[in-house]
């Protein structure tokens, strides 16, 4: 049994979740505080991956990252990195595809925080950054956990975009979902069954643990 596709899937998902957490956190904080007219535009733009067919997103990413586009050419000429049909390209594609799944729970978490609590921290003389890490984040743990886990799980579960941007290079871009697709194609149903069952089990356990954790947190704070 070859577990390489699973390892690749989790590596991709872990990396995506980490990068997106760093990118989405400041944007979510900004969106929750701002009254600017650009807010709906940013919100609509970042929510696009939820409604767009993966093939549309995959096509644009492929087009933008390939050697024929300035971006793809720049990366290949300067750093020698090929962005399409490579793991790097997969990470970029996953980050775009899973962005709303990180941003929205975080923004929601910030927006439901008791604003007076943040103001009390400012009045206590604490900066915005201190308030963010000492008061805001510790009081929105369910939102943090939801954002990270759902992003991770959503990246493990993606298929269309990955197939278009990454193809199916063993050890490089052949993640679990793509591997299962190929097994079905070559009618290796036994392997497909095993892989699919593993995916099903893991996904359920991940989701279950999020819901159990959130229920506990809510009980603890008497919500």
């Amino acid at each position: 049994m070859n577990f390489e596709p699973f390892i690749l899937s989790f590596k991709l998902a872990g990396l995506t979740a980490f990068i997106l957490f760093c990118l989405a956190l400041p944007l979510a904080w900004y969106l929750s505080e701002t009254r600017s007219h650009t807010k709906p535009f940013i919100e609509a733009l970042t929510a696009l991956p939820i409604v767009l067919p993966p093939s549309v997103l995959g096509f644009y990413i492929l087009w933008a990252l390939s050697y024929n586009s300035p971006l793809g050419a720049f990366f290949e000429d300067t750093f020698g990195i090929k962005l399409v049909f490579s793991f790097t390209g997969l990470v970029i594609a996953s980050c775009l595809y899973s962005f709303p799944f990180m941003l929205q729970p975080l923004q929601n978490g910030f927006e439901t925080l008791n604003k007076n609590m943040l103001e009390a921290s400012y009045i206590a003389g604490k900066s915005k950054l201190t308030t963010l890490f000492k008061v805001a984040l510790p009081n929105m743990k369910p939102a943090l956990i939801t954002a990270i886990i759902i992003t991770f799980a959503h990246t493990v579960g993606e298929f269309g975009v990955v197939l278009m941007v990454g193809g199916s290079i063993p050890g490089e871009t052949k993640v679990a979902s793509v591997a299962i697709y190929e097994m079905v194609e070559i009618m290796d149903y036994e392997a497909a069954h095993i892989y699919s069952a593993i995916m099903l089990g893991l996904s359920f356990i991940i989701l279950l643990s999020v819901y159990i954790f959130n229920a506990r947190q809510n009980r603890r704070f008497g919500l």
């Binding site: 609590m117 103001e119 921290s121 000492k134 704070f221």
Partner: protein
């Protein structure tokens, strides 16, 4: 010591309104801000704290907190603020809530002892009652040894007996720390108990300003028992009419004349008064 001269456009539930205030506060004074809800009391308090912007000037102890476009951020204004709904940091214990503001263990211990909370200092806010939470919130506001203490209807979410207890604690804290205090309240007994001066706001303007006894007693006429209430029901019993009036938490039945019964309407705000020559006072 404090000079306030500000204007701010407000969008209230009764349309647009201009908040326009100009007054001084002396050092160590306990001032109550009173007035109907929506009159701009809380906004004025938040402007003082730097949580909302406004046009005009605020000077505190010769230091400019607000001057034209320059507004000192809340972090740099030396204030303590007590929110109506406590706003404690839920992720910290009672003691940590206090030490987060200033790492002064002795002061924290002293404040917790004064408010009978030292036994609970390792507990988290969600394990406290409303009254306990508000005491923690008051202690937290004092941790920075602020120049001004701002209280936004601090006791309105509490029941009557807890309110009286906390009023006494506030009074002894004010005596000990001598902090200039501004409290939003519309409870006359609370204002009478705590404040030395009251400023009444109406539609964003100051309509009355003076000593508590002068302002509060003048409204109600002299040598009379006089209460503001709401007429809940008019009943006809045999040949007379009886009106049920709510005065604060208390329901009162009064006899109405035929003329009164005809001219009054259920739901109206009314004044109930009587000359009191020999009132019976019990406790």
């Amino acid at each position: 010591m404090i000079h306030i001269d500000i204007t701010k456009k407000l969008h209230g539930d009764q349309g647009n309104m201009l908040l326009q205030c100009n007054f001084h506060i002396k050092k160590g004074e306990f001032l109550a801000l009173s007035g109907k809800s929506g009159s701009g009391k809380t906004t004025l308090l938040r402007i003082l704290a730097g949580l909302e912007n406004a046009q005009g000037e605020i000077t505190v102890a010769r230091k400019r907190w607000l001057h034209e476009k320059n507004s000192l951020p809340p972090q740099k204004r030396e204030i303590g603020f007590v929110f109506q709904e406590y706003a404690l940091f839920d992720n910290m214990t009672i003691e940590q809530n206090l030490l987060y503001v200033a790492n002064d263990k002795r002061l924290a211990q002293h404040l917790l002892e004064m408010t009978e909370l030292s036994e609970m200092k390792k507990r988290y806010p969600h394990a406290l009652s409303g009254g306990q939470k508000q005491r923690v919130s008051i202690c937290r506001a004092l941790m920075k040894r602020p120049k001004i203490l701002l209280l936004d209807e601090p006791l309105s979410a509490l029941d009557v007996s807890m309110r009286t207890k906390l009023q006494n604690e506030l009074l002894s804290l004010h005596k000990e720390f001598q902090i200039t205090t501004i409290m939003v309240s519309h409870d006359p007994s609370e204002i009478y108990h705590l404040a030395s001066r009251v400023v009444v706001l109406q539609n964003g303007k100051i309509t009355n300003d003076g000593r508590v006894t002068d302002v509060l007693l003048k409204q109600q006429g002299s040598q009379k028992f006089s209460f503001q209430g709401e007429l809940l029901e008019i009943k006809k019993v045999d040949v007379i009419f009886i009106g049920v009036v709510a005065i604060g938490q208390q329901l009162v039945e009064v006899v109405l004349s035929n003329y009164e019964a005809a001219s009054l309407h259920v739901g109206e705000k009314i004044t109930l008064s009587t000359k009191a020559f020999h009132p019976t006072i019990t406790n």
